[in-house]
Subunit: 186 residues, 2 copies
């Protein structure tokens, strides 16, 4: 399906020639693997704000996206917003879903596993008494997240489940990643 | 600035009458505070996939967003994509930025602290040898995330920094949140 375009080594839509070249470059010079992703956010009002993603650092240099990406956030009315955009924890589920899916597609490609389809549904449980400051015994974040994935491919599900573990977002959430927040006067 | 629209109790664009009513309801019946957020994702090809957010559960019932939100993810060319959308770890930064910002605006409102502006920049360090499976000693996720916030308000920065800690996404990332991933054949 994804190999008909060119007589290149595309598997699952991933250019394996490029993957091999990148991997070889990072093995020669591991400092090229140090990436930094960046975002800036501006509060609009209430529960509305906007995040801009314009560039990142990787393979030894600053790289601009072809255009800046702008993503809005809001809350539904029951959480005091106008429901004009996904809320922050929904954006977190988006990050997790997209990361695990990309991880499976890419790592399957590098093992020669053909993927025909990947679909998933996610649920995250949260007790909003934590966020609202109504209880110190309730976690403020998700208590648990579940991601149920259905894949059509020529490999068994248990092999694909292993590949999900390469996901950086999955690792960031499950590992207790340090976040340094500083506030100063504008 | 945000109080001129109506003679209601809006602070920082947050309707404090509604906040008080919701808080009272959750205190009467804590089961109403059990929310579940949901997403579904569909792989397109390579590093491209699309996440749909249509509904959630909260205050004791399933609630639909006025329209489903659709969010795309891709990777830049150096990570084997076409740069058509933010990548998953950039979506994670968006989730964190929007959540901390909303948390500050809402909790400031409930304390009567007027906010004029909130802006932030975020950086997340990641060594892509982890994601690529080139090293078992390198973390697959972010090694560290930094969020630098600049606020114009009538409260000192150290008070606002406390409010950032209510953020569910911040808590989810820093706490080591359980994520259950299952894979089955489609």
């Amino acid at each position: 399906m994804t190999t008909t375009m060119k007589a290149t080594s595309r598997v699952n839509g991933v250019d394996m020639t490029q993957v091999k070249e990148t991997v070889a470059a990072l093995k020669r010079d591991p400092s090229l693997a140090r990436f930094q992703f960046r975002a800036s956010n501006r509060w609009i009002t209430g529960t509305r704000n906007s995040t801009r993603i314009a560039d990142f650092h990787g393979v030894g240099r600053d790289i601009e996206h072809p255009r800046p990406f702008q993503t809005e956030a809001d809350e539904p009315p029951v959480v005091f917003g106008n429901d004009s955009a996904p809320n922050p924890v929904e954006h977190l589920l988006t990050a997790l879903a997209s990361c695990v899916t990309t991880g499976i597609a890419c790592h399957a490609a590098s093992r020669g596993i053909r993927i025909e389809s990947i679909e998933s549904t996610l649920e995250g449980d949260i007790d909003v008494r934590g966020f609202l400051g109504l209880s110190d015994e309730v976690e403020r974040g998700f208590q648990q997240i579940r991601m149920a994935i259905r894949v059509k491919s020529d490999a068994p599900p248990e092999v694909l489940a292993e590949l999900a573990n390469y996901s950086p977002v999955l690792n960031t959430i499950t590992r207790s990643t340090p976040v340094e927040v500083t506030v100063e006067e504008a």
